[in-house]
């Protein structure tokens, strides 16, 4: 795995300073700033969460050392049974419009996000979350995912206490000749993603944030930028921070670009669907599992930018993933296949694999699964998900296997595992969910799921970020949180704003008088 490579340029500033606009380019064509709309596990969740983290704060946070850090909650406690948690709200925390955050706001924001059975109440500066069941990992839940605090405005937008706020959205073509402004909204999308139209989001520094004004004056986010173009823009200095797809990582490093990678945060796997009856045959699933060559997928196809996955949860999240292994045995797969009915998964009725996960990478993995399966005499027909369509119709052939991706969004392995099981519906319906955070119970639960082989892990991918040479103090979490409030740009003192950024020159950054680095926590 590639590690962080920070190469300060010659003559760069030694100390952080306020100014500059960070130019970010993202693949996603739309962004939602409403945590209530975020779809757990989806590829869009990561983008939404990162943009949300610019605007909103959580009650608590987890640092890279696994320690909980106060955010909007300064203190917390729980009863012995972990059924009642009490949080003390930070005093004088303000929204970007200067209004004070209240505990009632927190309760109103968090309540829709909590699972059934958990209640939140506010009283003064106290916030209480309680449940009939134990909540031993509530802090992990609240420190990750969509548990942001916000206040809904009458116009539908959400206001946060985070280091930035949405200043404007600009929809324009690449030539930026017909740009137009639009008010900030919680749901933002590029008009025609991928066909030359992009959307720009401008986040401005929040002067009122409790954590102190961020170093950056603004962050310009461009949505809907293809991966290769992001790399080009990074190479040409037109972007400071881009998402890198795995196939471009090697190219970026060969070009001496700064590349950061997270821990594996995106899981790719196969889940079987009873829509095609043959997919419910345990022997066929076992034969298919034995035919899969995950090492080649990760090391050759994905050019060592991924890890072969043998468990549903990654090692960094569960701690026991190393206990699982996924065997590849073509001969054994052929033997099992030979015992199956002759008409199962052959030319007339192949096993249909629908690639639900977006992107060329998922398609490539699906094709590799089909190639592997063919070695075991199992015919798999790859059915790609139509572009710009997320739901199937009655005209789509019933697929027995789905290639899905899952973005880990919670820091609680229990929550993550059960979310995965319930969302993707590959668990045994008679099997009760695990409520304990005991690793042994979690391990047993996951082991049983894997032994049923209704879900087969393939690979797990980190996230890759390309960084411009001027980006400083890039200190993201291992699980992918960017922490852009800590980033500053090493700009020449003679240049007030970055060249090649029209929006930056149109709206020059104006550092708040009196603000100092000392205001940072």
């Amino acid at each position: 795995m590639l590690g962080l490579a920070i190469l300060p340029s010659a003559g760069a500033s030694k100390w952080p300073h306020y100014s500059g606009t960070l130019r970010v380019e993202l693949r996603a064509s739309s962004v939602s700033l409403d945590p209530r709309e975020w779809k757990v596990g989806s590829a869009e969740f990561a983008t939404d969460e990162r943009m949300g983290a610019l605007v909103f704060d959580r009650l608590v946070a987890l640092d890279n050392y696994g320690r909980f850090q106060p955010q909007l909650a300064t203190e917390w406690s729980h009863d012995a049974a972990f059924k009642r948690w009490q949080f003390i709200l930070r005093a004088n925390a303000k929204y970007s419009d200067g209004t004070v955050l209240s505990s009632a706001d927190v309760a109103a924001a968090i309540q829709p996000l909590l699972p059934d059975g958990q209640q939140i109440s506010a009283s003064g500066n106290n916030i209480v979350i309680q449940s009939a069941a134990a909540m031993p990992d509530l802090l992990e839940e609240l420190a990750s995912g969509h548990f942001f605090v916000y206040r809904a405005q009458p116009d539908g937008t959400l206001m946060g206490t985070g280091p930035f706020f949405v200043a404007e959205t600009v929809s324009s073509s690449h030539a930026s000749s017909n740009s137009s402004s639009a008010p900030a909204d919680s749901s933002l999308a590029a008009p025609t993603p991928g066909v030359g139209k992009t959307m720009h989001l401008r986040f401005r520094a929040n002067e009122e944030t409790w954590s102190g004004r961020p170093f950056l004056d603004a962050i310009d986010v461009t949505l809907g930028v293809p991966p290769l173009r992001q790399l080009f823009d990074l190479q040409l200095g037109k972007a400071d921070l881009v998402e890198l797809s795995p196939e471009l990582v090697r190219r970026a490093t060969q070009d001496n670009q700064r590349v950061w990678s997270s821990a594996p945060v995106t899981f790719y796997g196969l889940r079987f669907d009873e829509a095609q009856p043959s997919a419910m045959d345990a022997n066929l699933r076992e034969a298919l599992s034995l035919s899969l060559d995950r090492q080649t997928m990760a090391n050759v196809l994905l050019q060592k930018q991924a890890e072969p996955a043998s468990a549903l949860l990654p090692q960094w999240l569960s701690g026991y993933a190393f206990l699982f292994t996924m065997e590849t045995n073509i001969e054994r797969a052929k033997e099992i296949r030979a015992t199956l009915p002759a008409n199962m998964a052959i030319g007339a009725e192949p096993l249909r694999l629908r690639v639900d996960a977006p992107g060329d990478l998922a398609k490539l993995l699906g094709e590799r699964v089909a190639v592997n399966a063919r070695q075991a005499a199992i015919l798999v027909q790859v059915v790609n998900r139509p572009v710009a369509r997320t739901t199937t119709t009655s005209n789509d052939p019933a697929a027995g296997v789905h290639l899905f991706s899952w973005h880990y969004s919670s820091l609680s392995p229990r929550v993550e595992l059960e979310s995965m099981v319930s969302t993707l519906n590959f668990g045994n319906s008679n099997e009760a969910a695990v409520s304990s955070t005991d690793p042994e119970q979690l391990y047993a639960r996951e082991k049983k799921l894997l032994q049923e082989r209704r879900v087969l892990p393939l690979v797990a991918l980190p996230e890759y970020v390309g960084l411009g040479q001027k980006v400083r103090d890039w200190m993201p979490s291992r699980w992918g949180e960017w922490h852009l409030a800590d980033v500053w740009l090493d700009l020449p003192e003679s240049v007030p704003a970055q060249a090649g950024n029209p929006s930056a020159t149109e709206t020059p950054a104006t550092p708040t008088a009196g603000a100092s680095p000392g205001a940072k926590p």
Binding site: T296, V300, L301, Q303, L364, E367, R368, A370, V371, V382
Partner: protein, 620 residues
């Protein structure tokens, strides 16, 4: 049908046949010539396509060679030849290389056959392509058709393998290819009216969707099934015409060229279709022109043949009219002679013939007239001599009697005057008979029942049938009932029947059977009177109806002449048939209606109580 009409038809038929033969010949040979030209054009196009395939193959080979000889490929070959080389470094290279060199397919295969990179099917990376390493030297092998496995199925490509031999014994293989698809077809230049189709033979059975090309739907594709199946059995070039609709102009002739792989397996079929529309339309145009020419020729032929036939048949018609006049009795008829040709000679012969006939007739009439007069004189002499001889004897007796006494003279005188009176009366009777024959009245037609007339005639002679001292004659009547009435003069008819019956009685002095029979035939009523007498000789038969001719010792020879006269006046016919020694039969056919005559209603047939005067004459 008249001679002229026949001649007209013959001429027209001849013209039509001639025009048809010419039109057919022109159409046939023109069509054959055009089809030959079309076949040559298609063959040329097929040859051009084959040449283009070769050129495409050379282009692909050139690009593959360029890839194989590129510096990056050399570095790759060196790198991959090292132990534990990281093959994943090059997994994406084929995609960029394919784009850079304008190829649809590029695959990089390591010396051990392991697929390093694939532009068309990246997911296959890591698997072995052993067929590549089986050949020692690829660089001289031209492009070949290859079955390509793709993520979404299989396809056919025109591929080339070239090698990089930078590292000894560790050859790096570059496989480059172009996909055989609609784009490949679109790059071919086709003349108007022609199209190219490609069938990728990647399934054992015919799959309509595997047929690619312009304007081809599933229904049309199905029509290629038998052709494809035939080529699957025996991959050899074929030519077949497909009729898309019932209109021959929509038909297309397809030249099927099998595309076989390196192991001679059928991978695809290239169809070059040539529309027959132009050819059929041209043929139709020729047929239209031929039909117009034929119609014009027929019209001209009609006019010409009408004129010719009129010119030819006019003398013939004149001849026919002359012949009819001759048949009608105008023996001196003459016709105009036109020209000296065969028809003219025929007309001259006709005129000569009528002239000769007229002269012969005149001589015959004169001869017959002389004969008739002689016969008449003979009969008159005979008839008159019979009473004259007793009269002469009587007169001589009277002269001798003057020497006798008065008493005796008176007695002789009285006897002589009585004899003279009797003989004079006899003479008077003879003269009366001839006078009556000369004064035969014109018939007064009424409706007459022939059967009744016959019965009345027979009834008159009943006393004679069983006369004492004479042989018996048995009358037998076979009269058809009902029998249509005829228009006839009842008195004349009665007279004719009496004469026939009397003639039959005279013919049977030794007794016999008198047979009378009536019947209806074709608008005529037939009467037959037959006896069982000694019969007549043919010569007697021929002269039987001649006036004053008789075979009997006592007779004027007028009886049958009167019968013939009556029958003739009734526009009927009489004939006689006789077998010598077996009897004679007379047959009369009378028309039921007399044309142009006013006919009185039916009258009862006259029932004579005694034989008329002419009957007596007929009895001789």
């Amino acid at each position: 049908m008249s001679f002229r009409t026949k001649l007209l038809f013959v001429v027209l038929l001849t013209i039509f046949a001639s025009v048809s033969v010419v039109a057919y010949a022109v159409t046939h040979y023109t069509q054959a010539a055009f089809e030959a030209m079309d076949a040559e054009r298609t063959e040329a196009l097929v040859a051009q396509f084959k040449k283009e395939f070769v050129q495409r193959g050379e282009e692909i080979a050139h690009q593959a060679k360029n890839i194989a000889e590129a510096n990056l490929t050399e570095r790759m070959a060196i790198d991959l030849s090292r132990p534990n080389a990281d093959q994943s470094l090059y997994v994406r290279d084929a995609v960029g290389t394919a784009q850079e060199h304008g190829l649809d397919y590029v695959e990089i295969v390591n010396y051990d056959g392991v697929l390093i990179s694939s532009a068309q099917f990246p997911a296959r990376v890591g698997y072995k392509n052993e067929w590549v390493t089986a050949v020692k030297d690829w660089n001289e092998i031209p492009a070949f058709w290859k079955k390509e496995e793709l993520p979404d199925g299989v396809s056919v490509s025109l591929s080339v393998v070239r090698t990089n031999n930078t590292v000894a014994d560790k050859t790096l293989y570059i496989i480059g290819g172009h996909r055989l698809d609609k784009n490949f077809l679109a790059s071919l230049v086709l003349p108007a009216g022609m199209r190219a189709l490609i069938y990728t033979n990647l399934e054992p059975a015919f799959v309509p969707t595997s047929l690619m090309g312009e304007k081809i739907d599933a229904e049309q594709a199905e029509r290629f099934a038998s052709l494809v199946e035939q080529l699957q059995k025996q991959p050899q070039p074929l030519v077949r015409t497909i009729d898309w609709t019932r209109d021959p102009a929509d038909a297309e002739t397809f030249h099927a060229i099998p595309l076989t792989g390196r192991n001679n397996e059928l991978l695809g079929i290239f169809f070059v279709g040539s529309s027959r529309k132009e050819l059929v339309l041209l043929t139709r145009q020729i047929l239209k022109i031929a039909a117009a020419v034929a119609a014009a020729a027929l019209l001209m032929g009609l006019l010409v043949s009408f004129w010719v036939s009129a010119r030819i048949t006019k003398p013939v018609e004149e001849l026919a009219a002359g012949a009819r006049e001759v048949a009608g009795g105008r023996w001196d008829t003459r016709i105009d002679v036109h020209g000296r040709d065969e028809i003219g000679q025929l007309a001259e012969a006709f005129n000569h013939m009528t002239q000769t006939l007229a002269a012969q007739k005149e001589r015959l009439v004169q001869t017959e007239r002389v004969a008739a007069w002689r016969e008449l004189a003979r009969r008159l002499a005979h008839e008159l001599r019979n009473p004259l001889f007793p009269m002469q004897i009587t007169v001589e007796n009277l002269q001798k009697a003057r020497q006798l006494d008065a008493k005796q003279f008176l007695e002789v005188f009285n006897e002589s005057t009585a004899t003279l009176k009797a003989e004079l009366a006899n003479l008077n009777t003879i003269v009366g008979r001839f006078s009556d024959f000369s004064k035969m009245p014109a018939p007064q037609f009424v409706r007459v029942n022939v059967n009744e007339a016959l019965r009345n005639a027979v009834r008159l002679f009943e006393p004679q049938f069983n006369e004492v001292g004479k042989p018996t004659i048995t009358p037998e009547l076979f009269l058809t009932e009902p029998l249509p009435d005829v228009d006839a003069d009842p008195d004349l008819l009665h007279r004719a029947f009496q004469n026939l019956v009397l003639n039959a009685l005279d013919a049977m002095p030794a007794g016999g059977t008198l047979t009378l029979r009536t019947s209806e035939h074709d608008g005529h009523v037939r009467i037959e009177v037959a006896d069982t007498g000694k019969g007549l000789t043919p010569e007697e038969c021929s002269r039987l109806f001649t006036p004053y001719y008789t075979t009997k010792l006592q007779g004027t020879g007028l009886g049958l002449a009167i019968v013939q006269s009556v029958v003739s006046d009734h526009h009927g016919t009489i004939s006689v048939a006789s077998d010598e020694g077996r009897g004679t039969a007379f047959r009369i056919d009378l028309p039921q209606r007399q044309s142009g005559q006013t006919t009185a209603p039916r009258e009862p047939a006259p029932e004579s109580k005694s034989a008329p005067s002419t009957l007596a004459a007929a009895s001789d």
